[in-house]
Amino acid sequence: MSNLLLNTIPRRNQYLISILLILLLSISCYFLTDIIGYKVVAFLLLVTLSLLALFFDILPILISAVLSALIWNFFFIPPKFTFHVHTGEDFFLFIMYFIIAMVHAVLTFKIRQVQKEARKKIEKANTLKLYNTLLNSLSHELRTPIATIIGASDNLIMNAGKLTDENKSNLLSEISLAALRLNQQVENLLNMSRLESGFIQPKKDWCDVNELIYASIKNIEDHPDDHIIDVQVKDNLPLVKLDIGLMEQVLYNLINNAVIYTPAKSVIIVAADCADGNCTIVVEDNGKGFPPEERENVFEKFYRLKYSKTGGTGLGLSIAKGFVEAHNGTINVESGSSGGAKFIIKIPTETSYLNHLKNE
């Protein structure tokens, strides 16, 4: 808890607060010395210091310690208004006061350090965990197709005479498929590193949303897979200004995800609506959807749903999110009308109703 406070109070205010507190307390005590005696004042000051030490950094505490020791000596220990100390007892008290105050400051410092190290350790563990997840998912996603390519081509080279034509052609298709899969993964990694480098500058150009959607499903339709893609785009939508390349990738990732993670014959609806200054694109499937507690995590890098089938690096959705955010837009997932996953992209954009004008 002290950490929270420490983080919220800037250093400069820490100095100010601790010095003011010491001064205020000293002034109030000054009028009470006759009743409580100057020794109690020392304890009051020490208690204040201890409280400050709970929340503040070492330097403000050190300064308050020195300041309070001097004040106590000057204003409270008789004779007042001098730094002289007459009795051995007072001298002893003053030295002890000083030592206790210093010990407070040093202890605070040490506790802070231990906290910092603990935090670092946790961060390191998290990074390591992320790194391991990355390595696991990468080594699986890259090695599987590589293993296929090496195995199949070895087979073709060594057993050329023994293989039937049918098996040869099967092996060749496997090589081709594996290479395409490998290429897709490399594409994902390159996109991710583009995002990580922070150099994504959308190159916006006028875009026909209808054309954008059909361009992004073209690659998927070229390899039909028993999924039904239902595009619901109204005629006469205005043109919008977007980075078409990035948005095509976003839609491809969302739709391809739906294709991979829903059973055959599932329906994937892609809908769009654009009006003044805003464009909304929805990709909805009628599969199982995401459990509510996992929804906020699905856009995280390398995040994979529990018990989800293998395949995919866990990068597709975080790339989609990154590209949408590069447009200052938002992407969310909720449960669709049929219980499937429903991704909603909202992007602020210029619109042009040029297509409503009668041409020529």
């Binding site: 209808n210 059909y214 361009a215 073209k218 043109l239 390349g245 041409n359 020529e360």
Partner: protein
């Protein structure tokens, strides 16, 4: 019979090997060069019918090789590159490359692009009526028919279509299309292009959303292909 000669300029031995086998088994003659220098000497000594040029050469930037070749070489040059960013593609096309293929590419795609580039410009004056699988374009009467029915095109739509047809198989960049159809003041007015492409597709495509003739090259431009050549 195919005996067109193709020069491959690529520093990767594996890619050259692959291309050599692919092309030779499709009856092309192949000449290989591993550097820009070798490539330009080879091209000058025996001008090939087509050049496949890699942009990432060890001794010189591919874009500058392209420019130098274009000073005297007018036959097709197809770029093959691992660079898939739109600027590189547009730059190469603006420097008069005929086409641009991103590695890795599919063999069928490569062969189709080569055939189309070699055929390029044969939509010539011998016949004023062009037939693209049911899409008839009569250049003398300026009429267009789709499945025997006359398609009414506006002047701009017709100009756009004929520009595509004259460059069949070739990627035409947004700037090129805007410049040649609307004029130099319009090269940044891509909204015109979007609207007219959509209108033209509605009139000539069977399914405007899954076009067979006017293909979108995302972020770069459009390409007119005749159905028969889609592999």
């Amino acid at each position: 019979m195919n005996s067109s000669q193709i020069l491959i300029i690529d520093d990767e031995a594996q890619i050259r090997k692959l291309l050599q086998i692919t092309l030779q088994s499709n009856d092309y003659q192949v000449v290989e060069a591993a550097t820009a220098k070798e490539g330009m000497i080879a091209a000058a000594n025996h001008p090939p019918d087509l050049i496949l040029l890699d942009l990432g050469l060890p001794d010189e930037d591919g874009h500058s090789v392209l420019k130098q070749l274009r000073q005297w070489y007018s036959k097709p040059i197809i770029i093959i590159s691992v660079q898939n960013n739109e600027e590189d593609i547009v730059k190469a096309l603006d420097n008069a490359a005929n086409d641009y293929l991103v590695k890795p590419f599919r063999t069928g795609e490569l062969l189709a692009r080569i055939r189309s580039a070699l055929r390029g410009g044969t939509t010539d004056d011998t016949s004023p009526v062009l037939d693209y699988n049911g899409l008839l374009i009569d250049l003398t009467t300026r009429t267009v028919k789709k499945n025997e029915e006359v398609v009414k095109l506006t002047v701009t739509e017709y100009n756009l279509l004929t520009l595509f047809v004259k460059n069949e198989g070739k990627v035409l960049t947004h700037h090129f299309l805007l410049y040649n159809v609307w004029g130099p003041d319009f090269i940044d007015q891509s909204q015109y292009l979007r609207v007219y492409i959509a209108q033209l597709r509605k009139k000539i495509e069977d399914d405007p959303n899954r076009p067979n003739y006017i293909i979108t090259e995302t972020g770069v431009g459009y390409r007119f292909v005749a159905k028969a050549f889609i592999v």
